[in-house]
């Protein structure tokens, strides 16, 4: 072989369509574009087979085929001399390609059309560069091994963090500093299992904390439902999954929904499932305005980071269950210097509005009301996670495995809205309510 397949990694990113030529036994050629070519190893490539009926028929009679790959960085073309070997309709490789195809094509409303029928495996017998009048430019590819070092640096930060909030921050700050990936968000799964909720982000105009993604929806949701990484190197063909880019607080107040942050001009995206003890805990998501921002090696390194973060988060949640048991009795009067404020709770969805500004809904909303009621009744500001978990008022059937996450969500959302009530984490398993002014609690019915 004159060129090694692994040196053509950029050609397999699906940015510029590849081409395949085959010939029928009567000699009539067929020429077609390919949506996906995957590098299997140094001697084999896999082609997705959705509707290439003539190509599929031809190679079963005459296995010789030619494939043209294009390097999206400089337009360089490479011709592979390949032989059809077999079709796979199950297995690891098939699943990987099917998920990738599904994740990218459901967004252009072509989910059914693009359904993967099979993966055709071809043996590569040789390959040459196609003559080009412009010299191929030396594209500096990041040196292999750098991702590994970056992953180790993030892992070290995560290992030093002890609670959900600092773990989330360690991951996101680590991605920025060790990998130089500047746009990222971390979403954790709700216990009901249908939604992922943003608990931290970096690089966006709005943090989007509290915004939700349905499991199975878009790139993030697909990584969650399939429990596999999903990566796109050229978004220009894919409609944005986040509808609301220009979210305002007016919009939040009306819809009681926080919009997912996102780059309007994202070209590359990667979503990594966070799994621990066999349970999906969330999704780590990164994006970039550059084409090909995330390589296969980046994806592998980020997958390790996501899995380690999942383990750390699971451990942090589990430790909380064994946290301090004594309920603080000090009725320390918090400073009531500010003006009064109105907190309205809608029971039907547990949404909370503070001075007519939407804050949050669901369990975190219920939690805040609970804490404020105790505060009003007893003047108490210190709470333990354990007491919250055991509280019967809260009707929390499923809270035990991610109370910390919900508290974090509530805490960050209060911070972001600069609300007159703030939540502080004082020590492991303990929180403090800081209330500026007298809260007027109201129950709304509609």
């Amino acid at each position: 072989m004159t060129i090694r397949l692994r040196d053509l990694a950029a050609c397999f990113e699906g940015v510029i369509p590849s081409i395949i030529a085959t010939a029928a036994p009567d000699g009539m050629p067929n020429i077609s574009y390919l949506s996906h070519v995957v590098l299997v190893d140094d001697e084999r490539v896999a082609l997705s087979n959705q509707f290439l009926s003539k190509t599929a028929t031809n190679v079963r009679a005459n296995p010789a085929a030619a494939v043209l790959l294009v390097d999206p960085r400089d337009g360089g073309q490479y011709r592979l001399d390949v032989m059809f070997e077999q079709t796979l309709d199950s297995g690891e490789l098939f699943e990987e390609m099917a998920i990738q195809l599904r994740a990218t094509s459901t967004q252009v409303g072509m989910g059914e059309v693009m359904r993967l029928r099979g993966v055709d495996i071809y043996r590569v017998r040789g390959g040459q560069a196609v003559p080009s009048p412009t010299p191929s430019q030396e594209v500096s590819s990041r040196e292999a091994g750098l991702q590994l070092m970056a992953a180790a640096a993030v892992a070290r930060r995560v290992s030093e963090a002890s609670d959900v909030g600092t773990i989330v921050d360690a991951v996101l700050d680590g991605l920025r500093e060790a990998f130089s990936f500047r746009h990222a968000m971390l979403l954790l799964k709700e216990s009901a299992g249908e939604r992922l909720v943003t608990v931290g982000s970096r690089g966006y105009e709005r943090s989007g904390i509290g915004s939700e993604v349905l499991v199975g929806e878009g790139i993030i949701g697909t990584a969650a439902s399939e429990r596999r990484p999903v990566r796109v190197s050229d978004m220009s063909r894919i409609r944005r999954f986040s509808s609301a880019v220009h979210a305002s607080s007016d919009e939040e107040n009306r819809t009681r929904t926080i919009a997912l942050p996102g780059m309007p001009d994202a070209m590359s995206q990667v979503a990594l499932p966070m799994i621990a003890h066999g349970v999906l805990r969330g999704v780590l998501f990164l994006e970039s305005s550059q084409r090909l921002a995330f390589t296969r090696e980046d994806e592998a390194a980020l997958a390790v980071v996501a899995l380690q973060a999942a383990a750390a988060l699971a451990l942090a949640e589990a430790e909380i269950l064994e946290g301090p048991s004594s309920v603080p009795v000090v009725a320390d009067q918090s400073v009531l210097t500010g003006r009064g404020f109105r907190v309205v709770h809608y029971a039907y969805d547990d949404s909370i509005f503070i001075d007519n500004e939407y804050l949050i809904k669901g369990v975190p909303g219920r939690l805040l009301m609970h804490l404020l009621r105790i505060h009003q009744r007893e003047g108490r500001t210190e709470f333990t996670n354990r007491e919250i978990r055991l509280s019967e008022d809260l009707r929390l059937p499923d809270i035990k495995d991610n109370l910390e996450t919900r508290l974090l969500l509530l805490r960050r959302r209060l911070e972001e809205k600069a609300a007159p009530v703030q939540l502080l984490r004082t020590s492991r398993g303990r929180i403090r309510l800081e209330v500026a002014g007298r809260a007027v609690l109201e129950e709304a019915t509609s």
Partner: protein, 156 residues
């Protein structure tokens, strides 16, 4: 045999043109053309091809002439494949001028899709042009979707 007017206009518009041929051992070959002239009444399409870049394709054209050509619009992937028999002729001044115009309009079409000129340059080469004169026998829809591969016209 008459080529449908809409299809003829499509083939001559800024669409990517890829060619499939094969050698005596039925080993397929790929190439790109830089411009097409459709002779609707004769059912023929002239394709401008750089022999410098795609020598094997031109050799196959001379040896057996069996040719498949896919025309694909990059903005929406609307594609047609035509198949038939081709002969190789030297490029006329008209074909050279056609290739120039095609390269110019194709580069700007691809530019609108975010592809820089330096990236598309290796696909749009006019060195040592020859003309493949294709006598069309079959036309297929090739747009991705349920109808892909469907035969829409066949000339005896």
């Amino acid at each position: 045999m008459l080529i449908n007017q809409d299809l003829a206009a499509f083939m001559a518009s800024p669409v990517m043109i890829i060619l499939g041929t094969r050698d005596g051992a039925l080993v397929p070959e790929i190439a790109r053309a830089v411009g097409a002239v459709v002779h609707r009444e004769e059912g023929c399409v002239d394709l401008a091809v750089s022999e410098w870049q795609w020598s094997k394709t031109v050799a196959n054209g001379r040896a057996n002439g069996q040719l498949a050509v896919t025309f694909a619009r990059p903005s929406d992937y609307v594609s047609y494949q035509v198949k038939g028999h081709a002969t190789v002729a030297s490029a006329t001044a008209e074909h050279v001028a056609l290739a120039r115009r095609y390269i110019e309009s194709m580069a700007s079409t691809l530019g609108e899709l975010g592809l820089e000129r330096r990236v598309v340059a290796p696909w749009l080469v006019e060195r040592d042009l020859v003309t493949l004169c294709l006598s069309v026998q079959e036309i297929f829809v090739q747009t991705p979707g349920a109808k892909a591969g469907q035969l829409i016209e066949q000339f005896p």
